[in-house]
Symmetry: C2
């Protein structure tokens, strides 16, 4: 009988952060593709677009005029999925099948730059530091609202990721409840912390640094790696080397190193298929419920859909929806490919 | 303070099948859309395509020739995500972060019809009954393989759902382990059964029939409804009225009614936006591990991505990936819209 070879044989890997498995089929990456091709985002956007509702000085859907902002700019989402209004509600404790609860929240948009055509990899480290400072301010401001217990900072980049405007921007959805995925992450971190008195991701990071098989970027304060249990082809996670739970715990040096990591990682992504690389990214950090949460380790996820080229993505469909997430290329191979990408952007390198 | 109105106010709903929540934002359906438009699948496919690897008589990637099949046709997937080979492996019980296990399985393709351009809604009830008989045969055949404990029957329809060939077909991935989503469903059905000695979905179905707010189709043996906790805009679930755990438990009347339900539901889907409606569908049923599984209730999920038109889909991206699934239109509204669709296909009605 053949011995298990993780680089060749179909296998499942376990994700201890959310207690779920992923099916890995290394041999399947040679499958021919006759399916859907994505549209490549145009490289020739103007610096200012008079029809863009995020550019400085332009009018938004609700009639408000954007200021002539110079760095980043935050405003309340005009079509928010959450509302601030308090709703009277009495829970029916015996309900099994029709459990619903009103949810209060605040949803904001963060423009990363006044320039319509500038994405993270092409911004200066200082400009990215400004965005980090804005995320910190928002985490505090929103977290201080009495009914807000969780602040989700995220970015959808590229039309394939549902982004409806190429102007560089992210969002923040802050709300009363812990969203499903965050609650899973919290429960698993908590169980680990209760057992070991250390954090799951700090201990994991130490093992990854020793193995050095899935590390994409390492500097003094942060590591970007392809998690052992990654589901998206080029999924990565940024973890801080020091143990802390939230973005407001950054020292100034950590802010600079985080900005640098973001710039380098997104540059490598763009270089991979020489395209403005689509992804959804998001920060997972301690809830703002007033508890200490020593079990929480600050980290940021990148979920990019592209698989083979600028136009062929991985589809998480039938089997993945009914069964479990599935990937074709191993995380080790993806990490190696990303690690070997240049840190200077393909559009600007000479 | 305003009283909670489930038709208007942002809220979360609980899914007892997988123990997860969904965020519902009824007011958000008026959001303008400037994002990605999907390509509409062409309506003018030929009945036979000489370049299609699923048409009768054509040669597949591995050199095999398809028979001149007249109903449906099953073959082993040429680029399977799972392999049948047995792999030697010793589990390291103390491993926390790098848990991986070889996974054995068999993956098959089921062509639904020899006609390249015929999808389920346009097939006769008898032709759909044939497909159901094939699914039954496969569930038995694959389930009888000693190392196979779960048989996942599914269909990816439309290029937007990662389908690379419009020839009507589904897939079956059979494997040793219970996939993540199935395991969740099993655990929650089991806990309910242990407590009530009835099945979760039978009791739920009785409540739904009483309320009659989310029922799309009902006949003697099956109900198609939009679950209270649906995440996709027009998500539905087909549940049998009688309690049984697997497709091989169907009586002949149930086979006919299931075929009819499939035809009517997919016809309503096509009529909704007058397009060949994309979706991933899949059957959830008892594992083939030799146990009795009285907790299991046979059901089938439909996860269609379209939201507003034939070209605008719902994106499950940033917030949904980091936080939780989110929907704009209420399940009650979706059910009403689907219920009101005609049961004769828009392409053939006079
Ligand atoms: O097997 P197919 O049809 O080539 O591939 C399709 O379905 C599979 C199972 O859901 C997915 O893993 C693939 O991403 C998708 O493109
Ligand atoms: O808020 P936006 O950018 O208009 O919308 C985008 O991001 C949201 C949050 O991930 C999703 O719910 C939408 O489906 C997506 O199109």
């Amino acid at each position: 009988m053949k011995n298990f070879n993780i680089n060749e044989d179909p296998h499942r890997r376990y994700n201890p952060l959310i207690n779920e498995w992923v099916l890995v089929s290394p041999h399947r990456s040679k499958r021919p593709w006759q399916g859907q091709n994505e549209t490549v985002s145009s490289d020739s956007l103007p610096e200012y677009d008079p029809t863009c509702y995020l550019c400085p000085g332009n009018v938004r859907a609700n009639g408000e005029v954007n200021p002539a902002y110079e760095n980043d700019f935050v405003f309340e989402n005009d079509f928010a999925a959450l509302k601030q209004e308090e709703i009277a509600f009495e829970e029916n404790a015996t309900e099994t099948f029709f459990k619903a609860r009103p949810e209060r929240g605040i949803s904001r948009v963060v423009c990363f730059s006044p320039k319509h055509n500038l994405t993270l990899p092409e911004m200066s480290v200082v400009a990215i530091e400004n965005i980090i400072h804005t995320w910190q301010k928002e985490y505090i401001d929103l977290g201080n609202v009495d009914y807000i217990n969780h602040v989700q900072i995220f970015e959808n980049k590229g039309s394939v990721m549902g982004c409806s405007n190429p102007h560089p921007h992210g969002q923040i959805w802050a709300q009363s409840s812990l969203p499903t995925e965050v609650e899973k992450t919290q429960n698993n971190q908590k169980a680990y912390y209760d057992k070991h008195a250390t954090t799951l991701l700090q201990d994991y990071l130490q093992e990854e640094l020793k193995l050095n098989e899935r590390i994409v970027i390492e500097n003094d304060h942060f590591v970007a790696l392809v998690p052992f249990w990654a589901i998206w082809p080029y999924e990565t996670m940024i973890i801080s080397k020091r143990h802390f739970g939230k973005i407001t715990d950054f020292t100034e040096d950590e802010t600079t190193d985080f900005a640098l990591t973001l710039k380098q990682l997104t540059t490598k992504y763009d270089n991979l298929f020489e395209t403005s690389f689509p992804y959804s990214s998001g920060i997972h950090q301690a809830p703002t419920d007033g508890e200490l949460h020593p079990e929480w380790q600050f980290h940021m996820h990148f979920y990019p859909p592209l698989l083979r080229s600028a136009t062929v993505k991985k589809f998480m469909v039938g089997y993945e929806m009914m069964g479990e997430s599935q990937r074709d290329i191993t995380p080790e191979k993806s990490a190696e490919i990303l690690k070997n990408q240049s840190q200077s952007h393909y559009k600007h390198s000479i």
